[in-house]
Amino acid sequence: MVAIPSRHKSLVLLTGVILLQVLLLAVQIKRDSQGRLIRVWTVGAVTPFERAGATGIGSIRGIWNHYFALQNTSRENERLRHENDTLKLQLNQLQSKAAEADRLAALLNFRQAHQNVPMLGARVIGTSADTASQTIYIDRGERDGIRRNMGVITPDGVVGKVIESYRDTSQVLLLTDKDSGVGALLVDSRIQSPVGGAGEPLLTMKYVPNDDNVNLGDRVVTSGMDRIFPRDLPVGTVSQIKAGNPFKQIRIRPAANLERLEEVIVLLSLQPLELKKDAGTPAAEAVGKSAPGQGKTEKP
């Protein structure tokens, strides 16, 4: 055995520990990095605290809002907010029968056309521990039927997809993450192009040629080509357009408020959602394709 001087022991330990972690990184680069045991253990150890924290914070906020600050106004506000959500869904249902590719109608249409598609409400209980990735944790997991690659939405639009499912918790990759993407199309021009995250609040739409006409405020919906989300779910609106080479640089403002998510809906299906084939006109096709408002939806 070669004796290591005691003053160098920590340096040797530092080198060893860093080399081990570099090897760990290398292993992950070669393989699929999902489902590591340490992730499962750590998430399993921390999420109970997050769950308890979410419940505790919710209770404290509830007590404060209901008994100390603006006792009646706060309660009324909360009731109106729930009522507003319900009315928004009902409004979508009506609009979906009248117009093709209407942003909110797409969600309603989808659910009408796919009444047997089960959905599940979930509460957001945590976020990523770093600033580089855009993920959230929800309080539903494998026991509730959630699996990897299931789509996650809100009544406002697409949120992301499930990237890891644990027993009682799931990790959702938000649309704004650099690794995220969704098949999308522009409502007015029907131009198809994937929309992805850039690690910033705005999304990017790629591969739209400079010759194609795109206007600020144009609505973007899912194209269904990714086989995760059904067609015509709202993705966002065009907020910036710059000429590029050879494609335009288009930035999209997400339809769902991804920075303030508290409740989401998980689409409990891994099967590609087939569209109705009896639609003739584009409008009728859109109505046939999608309709929200039905299916098994639980409020968290």
């Binding site: 920590s10 330990l13 530092l14 990184l25 680069i29 914070i57 580089a132 990759l173």
Partner: protein, 176 residues
């Protein structure tokens, strides 16, 4: 031999702080819990890196490089585990291992109890931490990463201010 002798003389002038049993583990869990939970309600909280602040504090206090680097590695790997798919296991682990080692090495040589020293050291370690992450991403993961953004600058200042206050709070948990 002379170096070792001098170092020991140096160390004898600097107090090594110990903590009550379970304090470090509990602080780590609380920091990770806050880091992942609070931004749900207050998104701006994400600018703080509480695991980094703990790594710096316990490194400076314990003044044992081996302990400091192992603590940094542990909290870094836990942070990696709770991060998204763009953060492979080891990214924050490596950065915090190095920060833990250097913090405890500096802590063994300098008096780092003064708030101004703590403020400056936190800024330096925050910058070093970001630098290691950028280097790791560029060299090992082949991912494009910018060296500096305004957000990082603000993050360094905010973390340093919060760090000084947090360190004063953590001082109360010391045994001696």
């Amino acid at each position: 031999m002379n170096d070792t002798y001098d170092l020991r003389i140096g160390e004898s002038h600097i107090e090594v702080h110990k903590f009550r049993g379970g304090t470090i583990a509990a602080a780590m869990i609380v920091a990770l819990f806050l880091q992942t939970s609070v931004p749900v309600y207050f998104p701006k909280f994400a600018v703080l890196d509480l695991p980094l602040l703990l790594t710096i504090y316990f490194g400076l206090s314990r003044r044992n490089p081996s302990t400091g680097l192992l603590l940094g590695m542990t909290i870094g790997l836990l942070q990696d585990s709770l991060s998204g798919p763009t953060v492979p296991l080891g990214l924050y682990g490596i950065a915090k291992t190095i920060v833990g080692y250097l913090a405890s090495s500096i802590g063994a040589r300098l008096d780092t109890e003064h708030p101004i020293a703590r403020f400056a050291l936190t800024i330096v370690f925050f910058g070093l931490h970001q630098g290691v992450i950028v280097v790791t991403r560029r060299l090992l993961l082949a991912q494009p990463e910018v060296w500096f953004t305004m957000r990082m600058g603000i993050g360094a200042a905010v973390n340093a201010v919060v760090g000084v206050l947090l360190f004063m709070l953590l001082d109360r948990l010391r045994k001696n």
